[in-house]
Each structure stands twice: as structure tokens, then as C-alpha cells.
């Protein structure tokens, strides 16, 4: 007699998995794949404002060739790259540094950990608005402090000068981004077996050597994931920079995210904006794949 087919049988595990994954797969498809496919379709049309149900415009590569030949696009790409490099670097320096600090035993450690993670809890727009006020060229507290300390003679127009505005945005992005690295690194630090340090100490390794040869390699997998997430966060950041500078002055802080928004919602160039957005997505995907592969290989 043949046994009845059942989803619970080991041989039907694949089907059970598909069945269980089905609903979430459908939701993911609806929320991610459909918009992505729609954006891809729009990027191949010379369209200003799209309309649901309207006839498709002829296929064209104009949007991509326009983007690749546009100084503004490359400037935005450069700004994004600069943000990614600087913000990631400082997020890791401060994040790992503060994680090492709050991993030590000292009175008030809990409070210190809370304070390290605090910026993460502040909504982006709120934080950006506060930074913009603090760096206000005429009435900001930063200028007042610097002048009071005798560091500057006259107020600095932080948000009206390209380099200064870029620096302000970088500071704001680092401030809101380092707690994530700190939390990840702290989790990584707590997972390192104490025996490794004991063994290194017995071999005569001093503090720096223990950090370099034990702590850092052990943190590598955590850091690789954190790196991908931080880079993606900076690449897609819109609110912080937009609230502080709106992408200005003279495009000094216009990242790819802001450039895309500007083209779509300010200039009503939906087709072109979709092309720029997809190129950005491609860059992010390439970077993530590269880092994850290297991390897995290591």
C-alpha cells in the first residue's frame, strides 16, 4: 500500500518551504520587484511625468546616454563617493573606538553604552535640522563657540561655502551613523573568546598587538556586514543632506540621491531620474557583492 503524500514528509520539505515562503515572496515581489521593474521601464522612455495606465512611450537609451554624458551626474557621483569614503571612515574610527571603550569595565558603563547609541535613536530630519541651526552662519552656536574660544575671528558661513557645507553634512552623517557601527562592533567584541586574549598575553603580545592580531581579525565578519550597511546608508541618504543644504551650494553636497529626487520631483524628468536611480542601484549592488564576496573568501 502506497503511503499518503504529506507536506510533513521529509521528501516534501522543499514544497513546504515554498509554501511557507510564498506569502512573503509575494509581498517582496510587490514591494520591490514591481517598482524596480516599473523604474526600469520608465528609464527607457523619454518621459516627464508618468501616468498610470497611459500608453508606453517608444524605447530609448537617451536617459542613460544623457546621464553618462552629464557633468552634473558625474559631480553627484563624485559627491556620493566622497561622502561614502569619509563618512564610512569616520563612522568606523569613532564606532569601533567607542565600542572598545564601552567594552571595558568601569563605573557608569551602562550609561556610556546608552549615550553611544543615543544618536541612532534621533530621527534623521530632527537631527539634520538641529545641525543646520547649530551651523547657521549668522546665529549658530558653533560660530559662537569658536569665536568665544578665539579660534575664529569672524563667523564662518558654513552652509554658504561648498567645502564647509560638505563638511557639515559629513559631520551630521557621521554623528548619526557611528552608533550603528559601535553597536555592531560591541556585539562582535563580546563574542570574542577571552581565551584568545589570554593566549596572546601568554605569548607576550602587548595591548596594540592584541588589538591588531586578535580583536581586529575577530571583528572582521561583523565589520564587513557593517561596512556594507553603512555604505548603503550613505549612498541612499537623502534627508540629512537635503535638510541641511538641499544639495547646495553650487552642487557641493548634491549626492546621487538628491540629484535623483531633484530630477524626478523638482524638474519632473521621471524617465531620466529612473535611469539615474538605477545606475545608483547598480553601483550599490556591485559594491555590496564585492564586499560580501571578499568577506566570505576571507
Amino acid at each position: 500500500m502506497q503511503a499518503r503524500w504529506s507536506l510533513w514528509r521529509p521528501s516534501a520539505r522543499g514544497w513546504l518551504g515554498i509554501l511557507l515562503m510564498g506569502p512573503s515572496a509575494i509581498v517582496v515581489a510587490f514591494l520591490i520587484i514591481y517598482p524596480l521593474a516599473r523604474a526600469l521601464d520608465l528609464s527607457f522612455q523619454k518621459i516627464r511625468i508618468s501616468r498610470a495606465g497611459a500608453a508606453r512611450l517608444p524605447f530609448t537609451l537617451d536617459n542613460y546616454s544623457r546621464a553618462l554624458g552629464s557633468d552634473e551626474f558625474w559631480n553627484a557621483a563624485l559627491v556620493s563617493l566622497a561622502f561614502v569614503v569619509l563618512v564610512t571612515l569616520f563612522c568606523f574610527l569613532i564606532g569601533v573606538g567607542s565600542a572598545l571603550l564601552v567594552n571595558q569595565r568601569f563605573p557608569g558603563r551602562r550609561l556610556a553604552r546608552l549615550l553611544v547609541a543615543l544618536p541612532w535613536a534621533v530621527p534623521e530630519v530632527v537631527a539634520a535640522t538641529i545641525w543646520a541651526w547649530m551651523f547657521d552662519g549668522s546665529f549658530g552656536v558653533i560660530n559662537w563657540m569658536l569665536q568665544s574660544l578665539g579660534i575664529i575671528d569672524a563667523p564662518v558661513a558654513w552652509l554658504s561655502q561648498p567645502h564647509q557645507a560638505f563638511a557639515v553634512c559629513t559631520v551630521a552623517l557621521v554623528w548619526s551613523g557611528y552608533p550603528f557601527v559601535a553597536v555592531m562592533a560591541l556585539a562582535g567584541l563580546q563574542a570574542i573568546p577571552g581565551e584568545l586574549y589570554e593566549a596572546a598575553q601568554m605569548d607576550g603580545a602587548h595591548a596594540w598587538q592584541r588589538f591588531w592580531h586578535v580583536t581586529l581579525p575577530s571583528l572582521r565578519p561583523v565589520c564587513a556586514i557593517a561596512l556594507v550597511l553603512v555604505v548603503l546608508r550613505v549612498m541612499r541618504d537623502f534627508a540629512t543632506v537635503f535638510v541641511i543644504t538641499g544639495g547646495g551650494p553650487v552642487g557641493a553636497t548634491r549626492s546621487l540621491a538628491i540629484y535623483t529626487y531633484e530630477q524626478a520631483f523638482s524638474f519632473f524628468n521621471i524617465g531620466y531620474a529612473a535611469a539615474v536611480g538605477l545606475v545608483t542601484l547598480l553601483l550599490c549592488a556591485l559594491f555590496s557583492t564585492l564586499v560580501v564576496r571578499r568577506s566570505v573568501a576571507a
Binding site: 516627464r48 511625468i49 531633484e262 520631483f265
Partner: protein
């Protein structure tokens, strides 16, 4: 049994009677605006909505706020998704993009049918696209000068009447203010549309225009170059706080930190926020510029894809708000001028004498045919604004020659027109 039948019959009758009543209350017109809670326009809107609901039982207005910063984005998403609001309220500089895409209903047949007289209606020509009237203009403004009489007096200067006096007053107030008070207040940061408007106010005084009547850019003219030079001067001499948005500048004016501010009539209502001891010093006059900046501000229309029933309800609403009575009410309640001719009544003028100054500025700007929206750049206004803003900012940052900057602006504007 017969009792049960009677009950059922009564219930059925009640249901039949209730259906029309329910249907009557079911038409809710969606009206999204950025003016739902300001201290000027919202008072009028709310009163007009109430009047419309009273005049048209069964029609309610869902008056919802969308912040100005995200208004165009939201409208675009709504129109793209075929779910636009029933009553379309747009800023005049974003309206052409929606009209060119034919998202809006041509109002010409409605206007003809109801005999709405638009003769002399300020700024109405901006609503006509490809020969069709897609909107009714709701506000045409003339720029004014708001000033702090006490600050000017303490710096030993009179209210300026021309550029030379204006610059002199700005310098003296700034020097007396020791970095805490400024002669003028300009929007010099992100927000290209506002930047362009404020720059244009200065350029106009020098006799410059962004484009001619045929829509060709005229930025590389000596007049525009002079305007740019003046704009640069105000910033390089730090006569204005730098890097601030118009909203912040207005606030600083209300707090008594800025002596002179060229702005639209909407700023009047903000003066009420000033401290009581400061309020008497805050005054309004015609701009010291020879030609005041003028322009259409916002328009009303309806989407093309509404049902006939909703179109009628929306048109009834438009008819109400553009009627003589409600245009007069606009002046009385908002403290701004309405576009309909003769909307400023003697009684209102007696109660609000400052409106005479508003009227003079509006008339002067209208007589010169000035609009902040440059001809030839109606659908690319935001891109045009970005070009001019970026180049003007670069001029100040790099201390560049205004003549060179004007030429670069001209070539970029021409490239924009060519697409």
C-alpha cells in the same frame, strides 16, 4: 404575521428614504493645499469651504494640509497614479507642468457657460496654455518693502526710495548692528525658486529681465549684469545674514534683527507675531526699486479625469470662490489683494489702510507686465531657477565677475531651452 409584515415594510421604507439622504452626504471633495493653517489665506479658505457646504448640501470639502516643500512631489505622485485631488490648488510656477501634461480640465467651456467675467483679472493670462484656460488665478502680488523704522532711525537713515538710498541704509544699519543686526535680509540658500525671485527683485530695478516677450533669454544684457553686481554686493559686504532661507529671514525680521525685507504681501500677517514693543516699528512701504517684482502666486483648477458629477461640484466651488462676494472676502479676511477687479471695498480699505500700499505695488507691477515666471521657461521653471541660483551663488563664492556669470547663465539657459 401581519405585524411582522408591517415591521418589514416600515424598515424597507426607512431604508429607501435613507438611501438618498445618505447619498447626499457622500460627495466629499478632496482639496489639498499648503494654505490650510497659515494666518492669512486659511481664514478665507475655511470660510469659503463652509459657505460652499451650506450652499450645496451633500457636498463636503476635505481640506487637507500638505507642506509647501513637498507639495509638488505629492501632486505629481497623485496625478501620476490617477488619484488627483478634486479641487486642484497649485503654485503658479508648478502649474504649467501639469497643464502641459493635460492633467487638468480645460475650464473654457465652464467659463463661457456661466459667463465668468475674467476681464481685468490679475495674472489670469498665466492660466492659458495652448489656447486653453486650465486654471483661475487666485493671487497676483506686487512686492513690498517691510522695514523696521526703529532700526533705520537708530542708524540715522530715512526709509529708502531708490537703490542708492537702500544700499546706504543697509550699510549703516549693518555697521550699527555689529553683526547682530543686518540692513537687509535675503534668501541665499537652497530653494532655487525663492532665490530666483529675490534676485529678480534686484535685477528688475537695474532694468534687467530674464527673457523677452518672445521667450528668448536676455540674461547677458548690461542691465542683468548690473543687477547681479548689486546682488553680489549685498552679500559680499555681509549686509544680509548668509545661508538662510526666506522663512528664517522673515522670522529674524519679526524679531527685530533685520531692517529691510523685500517680500510679498503674505509677510504682513507674520508681523502679528512680533513682540508688542516691537510691532509698532514694523512697517510696510512700496519697494525702493523702480519696478517692483510682481507675479502670480497660486491657482485653482480641476483634474481632467473626474466624473461629470464631481466636475460640476468642483466648478460650483470655483464659481463660489471667484465670485465678487468671496473675492471681497478674500481681501477682508486674508489681508491680501484679490485678482478680481474692484475687490478692495471702501470699508475694507478704511479698516486696513496698508492695502492701499499693496494695491499701488500690484498695479505698478501689473502695468509693467512683470511676472516672476519668465516667459519661455514656464515648464522648466525649476531647472531655470536652479541654473540662475547656482551661477549666482558661484559668483558670490568665487568673487566672479558678474558679466562673465551673466554670459554663462545665458548659455546654460539657451541650452535648457534647446533641451
Amino acid at each position: 404575521m401581519s405585524r411582522l409584515r408591517n415591521i418589514l415594510a416600515a424598515l424597507a421604507l426607512g431604508f429607501v428614504a435613507a438611501v438618498p439622504a445618505q447619498a447626499q452626504t457622500q460627495t466629499k471633495l478632496r482639496f489639498y493645499s499648503w494654505q490650510t493653517d497659515d494666518q492669512s489665506n486659511s481664514v478665507w479658505w475655511l470660510a469659503a469651504n463652509k459657505a460652499n457646504e451650506a450652499a450645496h448640501p451633500g457636498i463636503t470639502i476635505d481640506f487637507v494640509k500638505i507642506p509647501r516643500d513637498s507639495f509638488a512631489d505629492t501632486m505629481m505622485v497623485m496625478f501620476s497614479g490617477n488619484t488627483p485631488p478634486d479641487i486642484v490648488h497649485l503654485a503658479s510656477f508648478e502649474f504649467p507642468s501639469f497643464a502641459h501634461e493635460e492633467f487638468l480640465e480645460d475650464l473654457s467651456p465652464y467659463i463661457a457657460k456661466d459667463g465668468l467675467d475674467l476681464k481685468g483679472w490679475a495674472g489670469q493670462e498665466k492660466c492659458v496654455v495652448k489656447g486653453k484656460t486650465y486654471c483661475i488665478n487666485l493671487n497676483y502680488f506686487g512686492y513690498l518693502m517691510f522695514y523696521n523704522a526703529a532700526l533705520l532711525k537708530s542708524a540715522g537713515v530715512e526709509v529708502p526710495h531708490n537703490w542708492t538710498e537702500y544700499l546706504d541704509a543697509a550699510r549703516k544699519v549693518t555697521v550699527a548692528g555689529s553683526g547682530q543686526r543686518f540692513g537687509v535680509g535675503l534668501h541665499t540658500t537652497a530653494g532655487a525658486g525663492q532665490y530666483l525671485t529675490e534676485l529678480l527683485a534686484i535685477v528688475l530695478d537695474a532694468g534687467g529681465r530674464w527673457s523677452n516677450a518672445a521667450g528668448r533669454p536676455t540674461i547677458d544684457t548690461p542691465e542683468v549684469m548690473e543687477g547681479l553686481r548689486r546682488w553680489k554686493l549685498l552679500q559680499t559686504e555681509k549686509l544680509t545674514p548668509l545661508g538662510l532661507k526666506a522663512e528664517d529671514i522673515r522670522q529674524l525680521f519679526v524679531e527685530g534683527r533685520i531692517a529691510m525685507r523685500l517680500d510679498g504681501p503674505w509677510m504682513w500677517s507674520l508681523l502679528a507675531k512680533a513682540k508688542p514693543e516691537l510691532r509698532p516699528s514694523l512697517m510696510v512701504a512700496e519697494t525702493p526699486t523702480a519696478t517692483p517684482l510682481g507675479g502670480t502666486s497660486n491657482v485653482i483648477g480641476m483634474p481632467a479625469n473626474l466624473s461629470p458629477k464631481r466636475k460640476k461640484a468642483v466648478w460650483d466651488y470655483i464659481t463660489l470662490v471667484t465670485s465678487q462676494h468671496w473675492q471681497e472676502q478674500y481681501v477682508a479676511l486674508s489681508g491680501q489683494l484679490a485678482p478680481r477687479p474692484n475687490s478692495l471695498t471702501r470699508e475694507v480699505l478704511a479698516a486696513k489702510p496698508f492695502l492701499a500700499t499693496f494695491q499701488a505695488a500690484q498695479d505698478k507691477a501689473a502695468a509693467e507686465g512683470i511676472d516672476r515666471l519668465p516667459t519661455g521657461f514656464e515648464t522648466t521653471y525649476n531647472e531655470f531657477a536652479k541654473i540662475i541660483t547656482e551661477e549666482a551663488q558661484r559668483m558670490v563664492i568665487d568673487n566672479a565677475d558678474p558679466a562673465t556669470v551673466a554670459k554663462r547663465m545665458q548659455s546654460r539657459a539657451l541650452a535648457l531651452q534647446k533641451g
